[in-house]
């Protein structure tokens, strides 16, 4: 299922999307498969599967540590695509990774590999619109979405350029900073959502960790919430991981269903 179709399906049900991020291979190949299964069981609509990079500059300590664990457990791009292929689901998978890993594999090959394993979109946090033409073309040719980010300091001119390029959804970074859970998500969220004039769904991420924050962001106009670090923290704890991941995902999805 393509990302666009997923959002259409949710629209009909009057629901918003829960996009769940986990880092592939953290803590191991097999465990990631189980964790993703739990997320899907709980109603996650899109799975963002991180491909770990040695130098993740856009990530905070939680996700950086996850990447480190995954790399130490032997994750690499070849294994990553095997893992994605093993995930038996109809919902869209999205790859989040840094540009050098895509570049070294070859843009075409990376896009093809994605299509072959059911990855429908790519997010590259260190690839701004100015540098993205080549990957954009490779994605287009293969029918997958290249998802761009906008932030509170993105001015209106850049915003327009980025909204013209992004497809699938636009990743709205609700506040300045790296990934990680925060207690003060909402303040700048409304401002930025109001500035985004597009038909593409708006997915808000960076800092959302519980159902209250999810509900708040949705009430301010988000079409989707992206939650990562909150799941990773559970995974890092190693205690009742699948059960607790599933519970949190259920709560978050509930917030996406409630009419605001």
């Amino acid at each position: 299922m393509r990302i666009h179709d997923k959002f259409s399906e949710l629209d009909e049900k009057d629901e918003k999307a829960l996009i769940a991020y986990v880092c592939a291979g953290d803590p191991s190949f097999e465990e990631t498969k189980e964790i993703v299964k739990s997320l899907i069981n709980a109603g996650a609509d899109i799975i963002e599967l991180g491909l770990p990079f040695s130098d993740p500059v856009a990530d905070g300590p939680t996700i950086e540590a996850a990447a480190q664990r995954a790399l130490e457990a032997g994750m690499n791009p070849d294994r990553y695509f095997e893992l994605a292929a093993d995930i038996d689901t109809d919902i869209p998978l999205v790859c989040m990774t840094y540009y050098n890993l895509i570049y070294q594999r070859g843009l075409e090959k990376f896009a093809e590999d994605c299509v072959n394993v059911g990855i429908r979109g790519i997010i590259v946090p260190d690839l701004p619109a100015e540098e993205a033409d080549d990957l954009h073309n490779a994605c287009k040719e293969n029918g997958i979405d290249l998802i761009f980010l906008v932030t509170p300091v993105t001015d209106n001119r850049r915003m327009e350029t980025i909204l013209n390029k992004t497809s699938g959804f636009v990743y709205v970074v609700s506040r300045l900073g790296v990934t990680g859970t925060r207690s003060d998500v909402a303040r700048s969220t409304k401002d930025i959502l109001d500035r985004i004039d597009t038909d593409v769904p708006k997915a808000v991420g960076f800092g959302i960790s519980d159902k209250e924050q999810a509900a708040e962001v949705i009430s301010e106009g988000a079409d989707a919430v992206i939650v990562g670090s909150a799941f990773i923290k559970i995974i890092a704890s190693g205690e009742n991981v699948n059960e607790r991941v599933e519970t949190l995902a259920r709560e978050l999805k509930e917030a996406c269903r409630t009419e605001n």
Binding site: E64, L71, P128
Partner: protein, 395 residues
């Protein structure tokens, strides 16, 4: 070619949140680089605060021993003990004109951190420096210096716990505080416009050399040799000579324990000599990486050269043959450290010792010509502990 490129290298591979800041910086630089007030203040600081111009010193004993004329550009005499202050004065003033309240920096050897702390204290910025935990250990005198001047020093525990990881952490800080903070990058690395700005502020080195060598020798040198970590002292001394095609330019990288790699780690830092094209910390350049594009940790006896990447303009100049990368090992650099100390009464930084070692090595085979200028980028006080420890281990 895009304005942000140096040949096919360079670019701006950074999170979206930093793009406006890079544009703001580039616009400010364009505006002030020819501004009379800015240039006057820059001149004043270079002279009165940094102590420029620095001597071009004829190393008579070395020259005699190696049979060619060797001059040392004495950046070790710049306030703080290294060329790094040239750049921090420039960017510090730029940050002041841009009305930033806070400056942050990464540091390897601690020299750039120290130079940032100096200008931070002088111009009244809140100053924070990121330094790999391994470098905090091996260069802790510089940590004291920075703290003494009122900077906060953050020890970075991730990755190889060296320069690359300090840059990652500084980038994360900048992403978070971009509205009031200037990231004062210490070398010709990172996203455009940094490689250009740092090169321009460091070009004072080469401009002085050009004038001084004409006065002393009545001609340009046959070759110029400079160590290259990120490559700022090298670009600074090379840049004014790029069009003087008869002057050969040799950047010298850290060969560490030899040009071999393990699984996760390179035993050297020779990204220009043996690195491959890729994207690291904002730029497309030559980097040390594995088959998948994961960055390899680098290694060198000198903290300031211990980096997995190199400035994009150096990568370009190497490709077109205008600069000719060389490397020397840890042992060769250490030997040069002793050699200069004993023969000239000048204790060089371990970084700069790499440049000297290369001259010692190549003096015989003619490639340097008869008249060579070495960039003595810094003084060795900061390295005494490292050198003594290595000596003890040998004994």
């Amino acid at each position: 070619m895009k304005k942000s490129m140096y040949g096919k290298y360079g670019g701006q591979f950074v999170p979206e949140v930093l793009m406006p800041a890079l544009t703001e910086l580039e616009e400010a630089y364009d505006k002030y680089k020819d501004d009379k007030d800015f240039l006057e203040e820059l001149d004043y600081y270079m002279k009165e605060f940094a102590g420029r111009e620095t001597p071009l010193y004829f190393a008579k004993n070395l020259s005699k021993k190696y049979g060619i004329k060797i001059y040392l550009k004495r950046e070790d005499l710049v306030h703080g003990g290294a060329h790094k202050l040239n750049n921090t004065i420039g960017q510090g003033l730029l940050a002041k004109y841009m009305r930033k309240k806070r400056i942050i920096a990464e540091t390897g050897a601690g020299q750039h951190g120290t130079a940032t702390a100096m200008i931070g204290a002088n111009l009244g910025f809140e100053t924070e420096v990121y330094m790999g935990a391994k470098d905090v250990e091996r260069q802790h005198m510089n940590v004291y210096r920075m703290e003494l001047m009122g900077s906060k020093v953050n020890s970075v525990e991730s990755g190889s716990r060296t320069l690359k990881d300090a840059i990652n952490e500084a980038l994360r800080d900048w992403v978070t505080n971009v509205e009031n903070t200037h990231y004062l990058i210490g070398s010709v690395v990172g996203p455009h416009p940094y490689p250009m700005i740092v090169r321009d502020f460091q070009s004072v080195i080469g401009n002085e050399v050009k004038k001084q060598i004409m006065e002393k020798e009545g001609r340009l040198p046959d070759s110029i040799v400079a160590c290259a970590g990120g490559g700022s002292n090298a670009m600074g001394i090379f840049h004014p000579f790029i069009d003087d095609k008869d002057v050969r330019l040799f950047p010298v990288e850290a060969g560490g324990c030899g040009l071999k790699n393990t699984n996760k780690e390179a035993l050297h830092s020779a990204s220009l000599s043996v690195g491959e094209e890729g994207i690291l910390q904002g730029a497309y350049t030559k980097i040390l990486q594995d088959e998948y594009g994961q960055i390899l940790e680098s290694s060198s006896v000198s903290a300031g050269l211990d980096y997995s990447g190199v400035g994009p303009e150096l990568a370009h100049l190497a490709d077109i043959g205008r600069i000719e990368p060389r490397y020397v090992t840890d042992d060769e650099a250490l030997e040069a450290f002793y050699e200069l100390s004993r023969n000239e009464g000048i204790i060089p930084a371990l970084e700069s010792s790499h440049a000297i070692a290369n001259v010692m090595k190549m003096a015989d085979d003619g490639e340097l010509g008869e008249l060579v200028v070495i960039s003595l980028s810094g003084r060795g006080d900061k390295d005494l502990e490292t050198v003594f420890k290595l000596k003890e281990m040998e004994a």
